[in-house]
């Protein structure tokens, strides 16, 4: 066997917490062969990122301790001096991070930031560094590199920034690239481009890649070998195809089984619960099994609950000395749809397409510019403040970040109780009983009421948010990316809870999400948004199976499929990005009409 590029033996990384050492990664061993891609997978808190930081020795020495052995070729990383490490970082090991928005310095041009690496590690002078930077921009497919060289990061989109980060990481032709969730913050179509880029560059430069991710679809796309981690321990490793085909460890089995797969309920019109994983809750290492695929949810759809017609929401951009209007963001443009009681309509689209603004406009959390919102036959656009507040009770919203949407200084019991008291739905004494009942309804215990939000896990917090919303006995819930931030197994549980509530309470959901695999599970109907407009709307089965609009097709094709044996897709060297919905002041939307292409299935002519 050839000598591995990186060899990790018995890695244990600990942090000092309140005076005691707590290990975050324990006894981890793996090798990375030349030109190999290894994926480290696991849910949040499994120690994947700490592993990467340990390899770079970026753990603060005062509060962290790295033990074991890490060898880069012949060099012992843990024994190297700090000077040696500075040479190694960037030159031998490149690293890209999850958040391209914050990993670039906003006050330096992107060109300067890439050149700096070249001048620091390869001793280039300014001209040579510039030439090499332009070559790198070309390599990572940044169009018009010469012009963009002297632009600042804020003019770059997320995907373009990640390309700059990759260019920086590759500047010195490292032997090893550490990619820590590099595509998690990106849209699916951009993610597909970046993954393909990394794959291509790997063959061009001949480097090894250590890919950290929680997304099994991404793993299947890129990895040769997989290391599965659980709470700091490696539970399984092996070739990707073997892990996917027959996972040995119960946790890998659970992790893979929980991944929503697009196209699994092709023949059905109704939403369906995720198969529940039956296990001993206290010990995730114990084996368990998935229940059989659930039956379709019963159809309990009733009369029209919400009718939205020609909804427009625009934001005026101001600039210049007197803050004159200089342009308009057409965040929501002429959007119309209806939602029936007990029905789930999903709004899908990529970041900036206006799906969240649509949801917020319905509640008038942002003020729509025009259009009508008919909710239970009441026009929310013309109601008084008091009536609006009453209507908001019947139409509720849960947010993406469950921790952020709970007041950190309020006990969860008080948080759930407050809406009941504010809207006078129960007396003081009855309210306490109601809180207990609501906690029970979302699968939590009454004694949780006196705890604070930070004492709960992500999934539990989202349950709390759901309980708080249910306190108002709403008819309809707007779920804005409500499960996007959750780990896969937790995601399935929360989705199942939402489906149970829909069945028991006849709730209507407006499910806003970018994750089409999840959307497929929960929706009756899907609306696809692009640049503020709905480009296609129809029954879920028709949209997933028979998409008509080119953008819908592109969106569905970009979803990574968790199957490593599937031939890797080639979308070509596309670098296209979403256009922006910022328009000049005098712009009038020229909308093509919607055409009916099937029962209840409409598509915008293009």
């Amino acid at each position: 066997m050839t000598q591995p590029v990186l060899s990790v033996r018995g890695l244990t990384t600990s942090f000092r917490v309140d005076g005691a050492w707590q290990s975050v990664v324990r006894d981890l061993s793996f090798d990375i062969a030349p030109r190999e891609t290894i994926a480290i997978v696991g849910e949040s808190g499994s120690g994947k990122s700490v592993t990467a930081l340990s390899i770079m020795r970026l753990i603060a020495e005062a509060t962290g301790r790295i033990e074991g052995e890490i060898r880069l070729g012949d060099l012992d990383i843990l024994a190297a001096s700090e000077d040696q490490m500075r040479d190694i970082r960037g030159r031998d090991i490149g690293m890209i991070f999850q958040e391209p928005m914050t990993s670039l310095n906003p006050v330096l041009t992107v060109g300067a930031q890439v050149s700096e690496v070249l001048r620091r590690h390869r001793g280039f002078d300014a001209d040579a560094a510039r030439a090499e930077t332009l070559r790198l921009f070309d390599l990572v497919r940044i169009p018009d590199g010469a012009r963009r060289f002297s632009e600042f990061p804020h003019t770059f989109s997320g995907g373009m920034r990640q390309r700059v980060m990759i260019a920086m990481a590759l500047a010195c032709r490292p032997r090893l690239l550490l990619a820590d969730e590099p595509t998690t913050a990106l849209d699916v179509t951009i993610q597909a481009q970046i993954l393909e880029l990394i794959r291509d560059l790997q063959t061009e430069i001949g480097m090894s890649v250590m890919f950290i991710t929680h997304d099994m679809g991404v793993v299947a796309e890129v990895a040769d070998r997989v290391v599965v981690m659980l709470r700091g321990d490696k539970v399984e490793d092996g070739p990707a195809s073997k892990i996917f085909a027959s996972p040995q460890h119960p946790y890998s089995f659970k992790l893979l089984g929980s991944v929503p797969q697009l196209g699994t309920l092709g023949g059905s019109d109704m939403p369906r619960r995720f198969p529940a994983f039956e296990e001993d809750e206290s010990d995730p290492r114990a084996s368990g099994k998935f229940a059989a695929e659930a039956a379709d949810e019963p159809d309990k759809r009733g009369a029209d609950l919400l009718q939205v017609e020609n909804l427009c929401t625009q934001f005026t951009m101001r600039g210049g000395v007197f803050a004159r209007p200089t342009g308009r963001v057409h965040a929501v443009e002429n959007v119309s749809f209806t939602l029936r009681a007990g029905e789930t309509l999903s709004l899908v689209g990529e970041s900036g397409c206006g799906k969240s603004t649509t949801g917020r406009s319905l509640l008038r959390l942002v003020e729509p510019s025009s259009g009508s919102i008919l909710f239970e036959d009441q026009d929310l656009m013309t109601t008084s403040r008091a009536q609006l507040r009453a209507a908001r009770r019947r139409m509720q919203m849960i947010f993406q970040d469950p921790f952020g949407s709970l007041n950190p200084r309020q006990t969860v019991g008080a948080a759930i109780r407050e809406p009941i008291v504010v809207h006078g739905l129960a007396t003081d004494a009855a309210a306490d009983a109601r809180v207990d009942a609501l906690l029970d309804q979302v699968g939590l215990k009454p004694e949780h009421a006196t705890r604070f939000p930070h004492e709960f896990s992500g999934g539990q917090r989202q349950r709390l948010c759901i309980a708080r919303v249910l306190a108002l006995e709403p008819k309809m819930i707007i779920a804005d990316e409500s499960v996007s931030a959750l780990d896969v197994s937790i995601k399935a549980q929360v989705i199942n809870l939402m489906l149970d509530l829909q069945r028991d309470l006849g709730l209507a959901f407006l499910f806003i999400s970018h994750d089409i695999a999840v959307v497929e599970r929960v929706s009756h109907r899907i609306a696809v948004m692009l640049l503020g407009e709905i480009v296609e709307i129809g029954p879920r089965r028709a949209i997933i199976g028979d998409a008509r609009h080119p953008y819908t097709r592109k969106l569905i094709e970009a979803v990574p499929i968790p199957d490593p044996d599937r031939p890797s897709r080639h979308i070509g060297r596309v670098t296209d990005e979403l256009k922006s919905p910022v328009r000049p002041l005098d712009w009038t939307p020229a909308q093509a009409p919607m055409v009916q292409v099937g029962p209840d299935h409409f598509v915008r002519e293009s």
Binding site: R389, M397, L406, N407, R409, T411, A414, P419, H454
Partner: protein
């Protein structure tokens, strides 16, 4: 304080919340141990001031022409002044004036300033501009000068001094309340509150205020020291509470004429001011250091 309207919440939630705030405070104190020293010294001074009628060895305004300008002795521990009054007793009674003016004026400034900052930051727009520019105008005057103008116009009395000092201390509180308000008002739990149909007033005072209160309280402890200093300075230039009432600034002013041969006249009241101001600064600085990282760690 403005968070008094939490009575609607049932006991158990309120109790857990108070207990949590208590533990957070103790933790903050422990992070920077010198704040314990500051707190203990300040509490000791408060106790002495409160007990002044019981423990003072002499009447603070009782003159004795036969015992003028005595140095420290067993009878008069800190000596006597030009009218033969016991300096220790005057310092103890003076502490009451200093503390009352410091605590009440800063309490008032904290209340008004926080509400102004909260409202300005929450609503933003023109209201914010008008309110904060008014604050900036006030802030442009050094506190001593502004206090001097107000007291000179209204006359030196305890309520007027409190009003003058409160006026100078409102702008910093408005500022310190406004900055985090702007940062917090767009957080998701505020938007969630709006979606749940909560009124602006409820969102401001029950959800936002508890989040900015630690910063405001820390600021308060530091500003009490400033208020005590300003009161003493005003008394020193003759605009304090009228004689013969004992005030620290007034004692320094009276002793100043004999500073060369009877140093203790100025030394002991100055030390009193120094000790209180130092204790409050220790307390406030320590808490400020402790509270910043704690807030970050929570998020």
């Amino acid at each position: 304080m403005t968070h008094a309207n939490t009575t609607a919440a049932p006991r158990r939630y309120l109790r857990t919340m108070l207990r949590a705030t208590g533990t957070a405070l103790v933790k903050a104190f422990n992070t920077n141990k010198t704040s314990w020293v500051g707190l203990l010294v300040f509490l000791a001074v408060c106790a002495l001031a409160l007990l002044a009628p019981v423990i003072a060895p002499h009447d603070p305004i009782d003159q004795d022409v036969f015992q003028r300008l005595y140095g420290p002795s067993a009878e008069h521990w800190l000596g006597t002044d030009v009218f033969g009054r016991d300096i220790l007793s005057r310092i103890l009674y003076g502490a009451r004036i200093s503390l009352v003016i410091g605590l009440v004026s800063i309490g008032l400034a904290m209340l008004i300033g926080t509400v102004i900052g909260l409202v300005a930051g929450y609503y933003g727009g023109r209201l914010d501009i008008v309110m904060m520019q008014t604050m900036d105008v006030l802030l442009a005057f050094p506190s001593l000068i502004l206090g001097l103008i107000v007291v000179a116009m209204l006359g030196p009395s305890i309520p007027n001094l409190i009003f003058a000092i409160a006026l100078t201390a409102i702008p910093p509180f408005a500022r310190i309340a406004r900055a985090p308000t702007i940062a917090i008002k767009d957080r998701e739990f505020m938007e969630a509150g709006r979606a749940l149909g909560y009124s602006d007033r409820r969102l401001m005072f029950r959800h936002l205020l508890p989040n900015i209160l630690p910063e405001v309280l820390v600021m308060g402890s530091i500003w009490i020291a400033t208020a005590i200093r300003v009161e003493a300075s005003l008394a020193f230039i003759g605009l304090g509470v009228s004689p013969p009432t004992a005030t620290w600034g007034g004692m320094i002013r009276e002793g100043f004429e004999n500073i060369l041969d009877s140093t203790w006249l100025v030394l002991f009241p100055s030390l009193a001011i120094l000790i209180v101001v130092f204790a409050l600064n220790l307390l406030g600085d320590g808490l400020r250091d402790a509270i910043d990282p704690r807030l970050k760690g929570e998020q």
